[in-house]
């Protein structure tokens, strides 16, 4: 709650020029320079011509519809699960929460693979339905369509929306709920009149983020969209096949403008709806121990629905894990378990001396490097953000989140043009992939650390200063020890996001520099996909992600404190 206190309180003693300088330099090098390559040379004529093209109009409209269709169910499904985690405590809650977060860090191809395993004509769900309903043909046919893309997005982004909404639910003031109920309000009325508006900021943040991620989707429609195109795919095709860089660049600017306009609209609405109704600091939602008694009435329905959402999220992960330890890839309940798929994966010759063992080493090396540098930069940035005044903080927060709103394909090319070619000449080296991973991990880690720093009681900092400690001494002796767990959690999140990143790793892959997700995709991207080996590879990635996310969740105690 200290974050709600006047930003000026934090900025009065010292204007932190050095951390801000480090943050600005990092951001300039990583984002502004490449972005200038995207923006440079764009013209209004080119822009108008592109906007008038019927194909582009249709693709933008399709992408928008797809993003809305992905966002709304993701948010609706996230509500009960977020409430469940915010309200109830039970043994193993941290691990379950970490398990629930794994899908968000799952590479796109993994869900594509799960879709094959579940919804292919021979897939487990179709087989179960055919047997149960005595049907002759598979009843579900969603592969290679917008439906599959939307389903994949709901799977990916429900956990993300749930983390953000959980933060919102946790900070709902329990005193207000108690007061409303003492005044005779029913649970429904209390939710509608008292709780709902307190959730508006979290809803706005979740909706904006899920929308932007869905709008910028690349690998999901590439793998399971069939003839369904998104703007991001179109940028990729223009760049690689159709008309070259100028058109791809103009389209990516259009996409960026669209995203920024949408985010601004959402946050503007949030301010209009929420600001006038807030009264000072808010308290915390009172937590209850989960027990059978709660399964009666409205709470029971929420808990049951939360379990259903959990199953929905974990079924694809389960399908992949099971498929990796059996010779029957489409079975959810295999009769015999085997380690052959893993043995075969490690023996498989990907050509050019590339092996899965080598890709594990490379992925871990990149992820470790990304985690270290990103967290250092995020510390400097978050420090600068927290010690800015409130308006400055909002503006800087929005700027540092911009990488999430820019086309990955366009940024990949821009990074290539900026640092892939001489003088740095990083193309063909792992460092270029690491740079790209940092760009996308940076907004997340910065938000986590900023959120933690905002919770440090500013009086502690003032106390240290009045005791004669310098600002730097105070930062290292007081603030860092207090937020140390969150810094560690942020580094694990950066590690996980790098480990599972696909787009940049794919675009920058050359012989010998291929991360785990790229190699697994190669197993799938064949006339006859090697599903069993791909499942084994994906299981290894999922296990590594789960360990990192679980460790970060345990260290951070509850949630990840994402403040978006």
């Amino acid at each position: 709650m200290y974050g709600e206190r006047d930003g000026e309180r934090r900025s009065l003693v010292l204007r932190p020029s050095l951390p801000l300088l480090v943050a600005v330099a990092f951001f300039f090098f990583l984002f502004v320079v490449p972005l200038s390559h995207v923006l440079a040379g764009a013209s209004a004529e080119e822009f108008l011509e592109l906007v008038k093209t019927p194909r582009i109009q249709r693709i933008v409209a399709d992408t928008f519809i797809q993003a809305i269709l992905s966002s709304i169910p993701s948010l609706l499904m996230a509500i009960p699960i977020a409430y469940f985690f915010a309200k109830y405590s039970f043994p193993g809650a941290t691990i379950i929460r970490a398990l629930f977060l794994v899908p968000f860090f799952t590479p796109a191809f993994a869900f594509a693979e799960a879709l094959f395993l579940l919804f292919d004509p021979q897939g487990a769900i179709n087989v179960i339905l055919m047997r149960t309903l005595n049907l002759q043909a598979p009843p579900i046919s969603i592969l290679y369509s917008m439906k599959a893309v939307v389903l994949a997005h709901v799977f990916y982004y429900t956990p993300l929306a749930a983390i953000l909404l959980e933060g919102g639910f946790s900070s709902v003031d329990q005193n207000l709920i108690d007061a409303a109920q003492i005044c005779g309000a029913s649970s429904r009325k209390t939710f509608r009149r008292i709780v709902a508006h307190q959730l508006v900021p979290a809803f706005a943040a979740a909706f904006a983020l899920v929308f932007v991620f869905s709008f910028l989707t690349f690998s999901t429609p590439l793998l399971v969209g069939g003839n369904f195109y998104t703007t991001e795919l179109e940028i990729y095709y223009y760049w690689s096949k159709l008309g070259g860089w100028p058109r791809a660049r103009t389209l990516s600017i259009l996409q960026l403008a669209f995203n920024l306009a949408f985010i601004s609209l959402v946050f503007w609405s949030r301010e209009r709806v929420f600001k006038a109704r807030t009264l000072g600091e808010v308290g915390q939602l009172r937590r209850e121990k989960l027990s059978l008694r709660l399964f009666r009435g409205g709470s029971g329905m929420i808990i049951v629905f939360a379990f259903i959402v959990l199953l929905f999220e974990l079924l694809p992960v389960y399908a992949i894990l099971v498929s990796s330890v059996t010779d029957e890839p489409f079975s959810l309940l295999p009769r015999k378990l085997t380690a052959n798929n893993f043995i075969d994966l490690f023996r498989y010759d990907f050509g050019g001396g590339v092996s899965f063992t080598g890709s594990i080493t490379l992925s871990v090396l990149i992820a470790g490097f990304v985690s270290l540098i990103t967290v250092a930069a995020s510390l400097a940035t978050a420090y600068g953000l927290v010690h800015s005044d409130r308006k400055g903080r909002s503006a800087l927060g929005a700027i540092t989140s911009m990488p999430l709103a820019v086309s990955s394909t366009a940024m990949a090319l821009a990074l290539y043009a900026s640092y892939g070619v001489p003088p740095l000449g990083l193309y063909g080296r792992w460092e270029l992939i690491a740079l790209a991973h940092m760009l996308y991990a940076f907004p997340l880690t910065t938000r986590i650390i900023e959120s933690a720093l905002l919770k440090v009681n500013p009086d502690l900092v003032d106390a240290s200063l009045t005791l004669g400690a310098s600002r730097a001494y105070t930062f290292f002796a007081v603030e860092i020890p207090i937020i140390g767990k969150n810094v560690f959690a942020a580094s694990l999140i950066a590690f996980s996001s790098s480990l599972s990143e696909f787009t940049f790793s794919y675009v920058f892959s050359v012989a010998g520099i291929q991360t785990m997700p790229v190699l697994v995709t190669r197993l799938l991207d064949r006339t006859i996909p090697l599903l069993d080996l791909a499942s084994a590879g994906t299981s290894i990635i999922l296990a590594m992600i789960f360990l990192a996310v679980a460790a970060s969740a345990i260290v951070a105690k509850r949630g990840l404190g994402l403040a978006l």
Binding site: V13, N457, D459, D462, A463, S464, T466, L467, S470, A477
Partner: protein
């Protein structure tokens, strides 16, 4: 060390937190800044500490302008309302924090910490963490920490506010003794008048960002310069009267049909309207018929407050408050509820202020 604030002003957006505040505290003196919540007293203290920069005005320590000196170089000790003990450090590390920051050797830090622990009577708790201490112990650690390194000025921001009443009384005595034994100039911010009177040599009373009055503690209590200050320091009953006669030692004032002889040195004249401010304990409830020196009222409420009985009486001057420092009379007064009584003013301690 002598502390001076000259014309300090601070605005947060549209809100004027401190408006042209000036005062001084002499060496070894305790100045209490007293005022209601939100009047700007904490902001004023932070301006003195250098935690906030003033929009206007100057802070001087021993005639040296320190307005632009960072807090870490001012030689101050600050005890915050929320105590702000570093949760990740032990008692010993908390107290030695400033010494470590200043590069003292390990042995010197240990020796000084031992000395301070003895001073605040916390020997044996060196290795405990703040969460393992009681509220009173935490308070003592916060004070010891503030005194650790060459402190020339001790700033206390509602230091007892988070403690229960019983503990507050004990610690108030300890703070006073500690300050007297060390002779450090101290500025003590509080909204509690009894705390301010108990601990200070001088009081500044603040309202809405302005210092309304400043002076010797006893003088502020006995002879507050304005009605606002008088009411804040306890003279809550305000009656308007007309001066009948003026003499050497006081004046005769007509309050309705009642005549009251009040001691005052104010320059007043016959026929002038004045305000007579009466403390609840000087408003006496009596049986019997009204006389020249009493007026009639009806008892509206009787509250038992443990060590006293509090009454509200409806009179021709409005609702007046009376306090009887004899709790055994509670039932007696309860029987008078809704009945007419005679009200008498003990004129020895009334405060007279010229009327408008």
């Amino acid at each position: 060390m002598k502390v001076e604030a000259i014309g300090l002003s601070k605005r947060f957006g549209e809100v004027v937190a401190v408006d042209d505040a000036s005062f001084s505290a002499e060496s070894s003196e305790v100045l209490a800044i007293l005022g209601p919540s939100g009047c700007g007293k904490t902001t004023l203290l932070r301006l003195i500490a250098g935690l906030i920069r003033p929009d206007r005005g100057v802070v001087k320590f021993d005639e040296v302008n320190v307005t632009d000196t960072p807090p870490q170089n001012r030689g101050i000790g600050f005890v915050f309302q929320s105590l702000t003990l570093f949760p990740n450090l032990t008692v010993e590390e908390n107290i030695g924090f400033s010494l470590d920051a200043k590069g003292w050797s390990y042995d010197s830090i240990r020796a000084r910490v031992r000395e301070l622990l003895e001073l605040v009577r916390l020997e044996g708790l060196e290795t405990r963490y703040p969460r393992e201490l009681s509220g009173g112990q935490q308070q003592r650690v916060a004070i010891a920490r503030a005194l650790a390194a060459e402190t020339r000025l001790l700033l206390l921001d509602e230091p007892l506010a988070s403690l229960d009443v019983a503990l507050r009384g004990d610690l108030l005595v300890e703070v006073k003794n500690l300050q007297e034994s060390l002779g450090i100039t101290t500025i003590y911010v509080t909204h509690d008048q009894s705390e301010a009177f108990a601990v200070s040599d001088k009081i500044a009373v603040m309202f809405d960002g302005k210092i309304e009055a400043i002076g010797d503690t006893f003088q502020i209590y006995m002879d507050p310069p304005t009605e606002k200050v008088a009411k804040f320091v306890g003279a809550t009953n305000s009656l308007t009267g007309i001066v009948k006669t003026v003499g050497e030692e006081g004046a005769s004032v007509g309050l309705g049909d009642t005549v009251l002889n009040v001691p005052t040195k104010l320059k007043i004249r016959n026929g002038q309207r004045i305000k007579v401010l009466v403390r609840p304990e000087s408003l006496l409830i009596e049986d019997g018929a009204p006389s020249d020196s009493t007026f009639q009222g009806k008892v509206e409420n009787v509250l038992f407050r443990g060590d006293r009985v509090q009454l509200r009486v409806d009179t021709e001057f409005g609702l007046l408050e009376s306090v009887v420092r004899d709790p055994s009379r509670y039932t007696e007064f309860l029987g008078k509820r809704g009945r007419k009584v005679s009200v008498k003013i003990d004129s020895r301690s009334v405060i007279v202020i010229p009327g408008e």
